[in-house]
Amino acid sequence: MKIDFPHQQFAHCESGVTTNLLNYHGFPCSEALVFGIGAGLFFGYVPFIKLNFLPLTTFRTAPGSIFAKATKRLGIEVKREKFRDPLAAEKKLDELLAAGRPVGAQTGVFWLPFFPPAYRFHFNGHNLVVIGKEGDDYLISDPIFEEPVRCPAADLRKARFAKGALAPKGKIYYVEKMAEQFDVPGAVTAGIKEVCRGMLKTPVPMAGVRGIRLLARQLEKWPAKLGDKQTLLYLGHVIRMQEEIGTGGGGFRFIYAAFLQEAAEILKNDELLDLSNHCTEIGDLWRDFALLASRVCKGRATITDSFADLADLLRQCATEEQLLFTRLNATICR
């Protein structure tokens, strides 16, 4: 059986999954709007948490929060479940599909055979929608891909019960009941306020604008502390977190700029158009950083010549983001 599901390709897995699910349930929206309402934009550099033995660097909030916050702010009732037993998890999924309900699921990437091998790493914060089952294959709408894909049940089981950091524990989520009406301006405002808070007013130095400055300071020390080889691995890891499939480019800064453009119309606030342009410029700065970093990784530029420039680019990003979110907060709270 297969649910008639409007699959669309998007930049990011979780906001794409949420968008496709909301479109299916009769709330037409863009991915950027969902990303903005769900307050997906963030920065965090947490050197003492390691992912694949490299320090955690993130440009977004914790997995699951975009779906949770976007639906909550739009007044949509959802259900989330985790499982201990893989067979119970599969049975529940089959029951929901049989009842004609598309189901969102958190999975690891490593075990999904439809991913190109080059992208298969132990990253457990991936999201997709299961939209049917034929024989022993699940039919899947994965917003990273152009078309819906098939996945053998055994592989999906492994992916749903991937282990390690962010282990999904078979997590599924779905829309229980849509709202009668949607307060979109209210949801947009709440989403923007949260992002401003996360970027400007964090109690810890690892998050927000302070996190970017921390990364700049630490990055300058990498060559002396880690040696050349490890330094390049650390740098490559930051590029991947920023640009790897799923960010829409520039560590989500471009998708957020697209959201601000939409928000300008929804809130009838033209200042947001200016801020959207500013956000695009910041995304371009992040791209410059990635470009220079990749040249260093490839050996086209040397560590001694380039690390001060890389740290400077990061500090520029931090300064510009501080300016952007301060102005954004002011215009929203006015």
């Binding site: 390709q9 930049a11 033995f53 790493f121 132990h122 891909f145 490559g236 471009f254």
Partner: protein, 147 residues
Amino acid sequence: MKKEDVPQYSDLSAGCKVINYATDADGQYTLAQSAGWEVKDIALRQAWDAIDEQLREVLKEINAGRKSPLAYHMIKNQMDAALLAKYSGISRWQVKRHLKPRVFNKLSESTLAPYLELFDLTIDQLRVVPEQPEILLAEQERQDQVR
């Protein structure tokens, strides 16, 4: 980023296009497909090179009789003893013992069963290692060549 600047460099993407957000001539944001960006590929290839190098080192150790073949399969699947323990349900100190050739060679098929199921290998496949590392990326590049 402007729409005409969306990179279309394809090396490791295996024909999969991703979505980038970019502005059109009027400054409006649109969704643009990107075939890939060299910057991403450099970082991605670097990560695979690191795995390849780890595998070469572990193969040397296995051939020298210091590590068991399990160590090769563990690293090939990008795991360390802690992650392998979580996946196999075998305790971490036991996994570490199984990485020693002296212990590994005496293990029965039933003890090794969780590893076999996890890595989708037969017992004979688990007990041997190739001469050269085999990484997933190389498999993709072979497929690309056929295409």
